[in-house]
Amino acid sequence: MIAPGPELNPARRPSKINVRVLRQDGPGTPPYWERHQVDYEPDMNVISVLQKIAAQATTYDGKKVSPVAWDCGCLEEVCGSCTMVINGRVRQSCSALVDRLFEDNPEEILLEPMTKFPVVRDLKIDRSRLFHSLKRVQAWVPVDSYFDMGAGPRIPREDQEQNYPLSQCMSCGCCLEACPQFNKVELIRHVGESDEAFDARKNQAYESEFIGPHAISQAMLFNAHPVGKNLKKERLETLTSTGGIQACGNAQNCVAVCPKEIPLTTSIARAGRAATLHSIKKLFDR
């Protein structure tokens, strides 16, 4: 949670906001910095700054440019779309309030794309790997059918209170950006390569790399569900194979940057214990 700071002193409120954006026209092209300036208004966030930049489509020094590309959705920090690196820190741009950013640096706002995912254009990045990890850990409850079979199992309040925070993960990717063990995987499409072939090649590359704290936490969430745990073994198998829990270096950056304050390191610790037990059991079951 961002602690509410003191009201910005009106005397320090500038009439203009200087913004520097690290732009990139497309995959494989060189990034470049571009300066913009927009009028200050009360209650602005980085989204409204980018909206103004799009409407102006003109740089600080009057050059006509295309609007900066970026992703956004709900604008209230529940959809996970608008992650970027703002003044050097990974976060959601909707909850990055201009007045607060000024407290750190009144001169300018720096906007950069996340560095652990391939840039599509400007601040827009390709996070498909993050969703692929959810497939790897089979993050779902394997119900028999969607027919009416009555209520689900009764769940103690204590369990709900433990699981609900984990289920608030919005796949924003902040934890992955901050994780020293999570490295960028960027493949370039071959000439004439089909969608399917390219996807298959990407998925293969993803699977040899660290799965990430978000997916480990989801594995723990579903292993704790009375029916979800029917896939417990399969999930632990993934977590004990290449790119699994052993890749975690315990830097604890993930939990520090999570905008939803999900106890990711607690999940990782639980996953570590479960994985050890799973490996020992496998040894004896052989």
Binding site: C79, G80, L134
Partner: protein, 666 residues
């Protein structure tokens, strides 16, 4: 079903539940979405999802009562069979979501906890903290991912639906869509297309909706021949946090958990809220609506808050209009457990802890009750016939609409926590009907290629034409959007006047042509968000015209649509006989108005503007009765109305079942 494919457009609650149900039935699904489906606007739903449950049942509640509350809350503007079916399915929907692992709040004994929502006296609402929509969406997202791994679902995320493809007989046989990254435009053959693209809040500029909710997908279907119903019914939520880029929702659950709305009795009272003693606080909803209190239906709460600020001059902030929503009397741990998500939003965006200080809130555009017109087939009990291909079908054969983008379930005003229900219900229910539809039609994949090439050509030409409007002196699409939003917010929200609506309709109609002259700052063909936005702006305009035209032609007040020049008055007389006489006249006027306006407004597109007709409502189960929340003299009117209904029942014994229900429900 080996060769059949269905295309689902939109991956919110409705689209995902339809996708997973179709996959379960063995149908391959292509799923198109503007965003990774897990980020769809359903994540913003906060409060909960309604159904009768074991506890309320023992307090006298029933599926019928849920149906009745929904119809009465919606001011009778719904065809009743689909609403009845939804209310009767509601407990099953929640059971299913429970099995899928949704982390619903629990009672100490481990049952699903419930809270009370607006427009009902029962605690029907199941919830997962204050992020229920997010939790429900994630459960469905997970199931669809499971089917993706199984190979039955193929997702096209960051794709924009450009329009349905119709064959020479007018049957929908697929759609054209565009990859928002590579800008490739592609045609998809499909034996049915299901549009589940949510509301149209963006045409009001700022609303509680996500940036995806432009209404352009529905508009593209509308412009291709689908009818659009009840567009004028736009829900303005009573409680939102004003912001520069968005009006952020503050859930009704805040009031469901005991939150109180108030203003100081004295205008311009400068004392901090906590220093104002109870005797100086005006709890206007509680005083004016003793039965429902802070949980009156949304349209009513919205008008009251609007009134208190605009006409009574009691806004709590001298610089902008707002009232207090106060939770500070509720213990902190209780608030965190049940409302954590929304309190964090307030804290993050306003920098004030709502557990310590009353929140400042004001109404904001929130939900589209209207949407694509859809059909249904009733069964003998007045519910829906399961498996009928007519259920949720638009007037274009093979084109279906579900969720917020259909017009079917909420009438003139939606009750809180009924939207998540209608989305999931319609998504699950549409599947078997589509399977039956496909059995009786030639597979789209076997149709001549020329049909698809023609559609692809049209959309490619539109795209190229826009790109050729290079930077110049044309319209700036972002500024035009602001202008549209300003007009719509000023004229077509809480209070509506015909002269303003006429003026707005003219201005917006002129935008049909103006929006064609937008010049783009980006004419490239890689991740061009500029051109995608401009297309959606162009397509917002026909829906804005439907809203304005419907509002203009509906000379009455019903639910969210309120015209001071055409509304049913309070009773004035104090003498009992005169008051009774006045109530008789009130009921006469009500009957006249009902026969004139208890109708859906249904628009068809005519190239430059919509053509509007009024269509009868199916009230086979429950006769319309006056909606009397808080009306002065309401009890006398109710008495008169009951007597009239009883005498009608005696003279018309031909419909015993419906009449019995009527007597029981008034």
């Amino acid at each position: 079903m080996a060769n059949n494919r269905v295309l689902v457009v939109g991956g919110g609650l409705a689209g995902l539940s339809a996708t997973m149900k179709l996959a379960e039935l063995g149908v391959a699904v292509d799923l198109i979405s503007l965003t990774p489906v897990k980020r769809s606007h359903s994540v913003c739903a906060q409060g909960g999802i309604n159904s009768v449950n074991d506890q309320t049942r023992q307090q006298g509640d029933s599926e019928w009562n849920h149906f009745d509350d929904t119809i009465y809350g919606g001011d009778f503007l719904q065809n009743q069979p689909p609403v009845k079916e939804m209310a009767y399915w509601a407990p099953k929907v929640i059971d299913l979501m429970d099995r899928l692992g949704v982390t619903f709040n629990r009672t100490p004994e481990g049952y699903i906890d419930r809270r009370r929502f607006g427009g009902t006296l029962y605690k029907r609402t199941a919830f997962a903290g204050a992020t229920t929509g997010q939790q429900l969406l994630y459960a469905l997202d997970e199931q669809v991912r499971r089917w993706e791994v199984e190979g039955l679902v193929k997702k096209y995320e960051f794709w924009d639906f450009l329009g349905p493809i119709l064959d020479d007989n007018g049957r929908c046989v697929g759609a054209v869509a565009q990859d928002m990254v590579s800008m490739e435009i592609r045609s998809f053959a499909a034996d049915a297309v299901v549009v589940a693209t949510g509301g149209c809040g963006l045409l009001y500029g700022r609303s509680t909706m996500s940036v995806f909710c432009t209404g352009s997908a529905a508009s593209r279907c509308f412009q291709a021949g689908a009818k659009y119903g009840n567009g004028e019914f736009i829900q303005v939520h009573p409680t939102a946090i004003p912001g520069a880029d968005k009006l952020r929702l503050m859930s009704e659950s805040a009031r469901g958990e005991g939150g109180r709305v108030w203003v100081p009795r004295k205008p311009n009272d400068t004392r901090p809220p906590k220093q104002i003693p109870t005797s100086d606080r005006f709890f206007f909803l509680e005083e004016r609506f003793p039965k429902y209190g802070n949980l009156v239906p949304r349209d009513i709460a919205t008008r009251e808050i609007f009134n208190i600020c605009v006409n009574e001059g009691l806004s709590v902030d001298p610089t902008r209009m707002c009232v207090y929503l106060d939770l500070t009397h509720i213990p902190r741990h209780e608030l965190d457990r049940k409302l954590g998500g929304i309190l964090e939003i307030y804290e993050k965006f306003q920098g004030v802890d709502p557990r310590e200080e009353p929140m400042k809130i004001f109404p904001a555009v929130h939900y589209s009750m209207g949407g694509l017109w859809v059909d249904y087939e009733a069964n003998g009990e007045g519910g829906l016939l399961p498996g009928s291909p007519r259920n949720q079908s638009t007037n274009v054969p093979g084109l279906y609409a579900i969720g917020e983008c259909d017009y079917q379930y909420h009438g003139a005003n939606r009750l809180g926590a009924n939207s998540l229900l209608s989305c999931i219900f319609s998504g699950l229910f549409v599947g078997p009907g589509i399977v039956n539809w496909m059995k009786s039609n030639k597979a789209a994949a076997d149709l001549p290629k020329s049909i698809f090439e023609r559609a692809l050509g049209e959309h490619t030409a539109r795209h190229k034409k826009l790109l050729s409007n290079a930077s110049g002196d044309g319209e700036n699409p972002y500024l035009l959007h602001q202008e549209l939003g300003d007009i719509m917010t000023r004229t077509a929200t809480v209070v509506r006047y015909n002269n303003q609506l006429t003026d707005a309709y003219e201005k917006v109609s002129a935008m049909v042509e103006r929006s064609q002259r937008c010049s783009l700052a980006d004419t490239g063909n890689w991740t061009n968000q500029n051109v995608i936005f401009t297309k959606s702006l162009q397509d917002m305009i026909p829906i804005a015209q439907c809203i304005l035209k419907g509002a203009l032609m509906r000379d009455e007040s019903r639910g969210a649509h309120f015209k001071p020049d055409f509304c049913m008055p309070n009773l004035q007389a104090t003498d009992p006989t005169e008051r009774r006489h006045e109530a008789e006249k009130w009921c006469d006027a009500f009957e006249v108005n009902t026969s004139k306006f208890l109708k859906s407004s249904v628009c068809s597109w005519k190239g430059q503007e919509p053509d509007l007709v009024f269509e009868d409502i199916d009230t086979r189960l429950m006769k319309p009765r006056p909606r009397l929340y808080g009306l002065v003299g309401g009890e006398v009117i109710e008495e008169v109305w009951k007597q009239r209904s009883r005498s009608k029942e005696e003279t018309a014994p031909s419909k015993p079942a419906a009449a019995k229900q009527l007597a029981g429900s008034v």
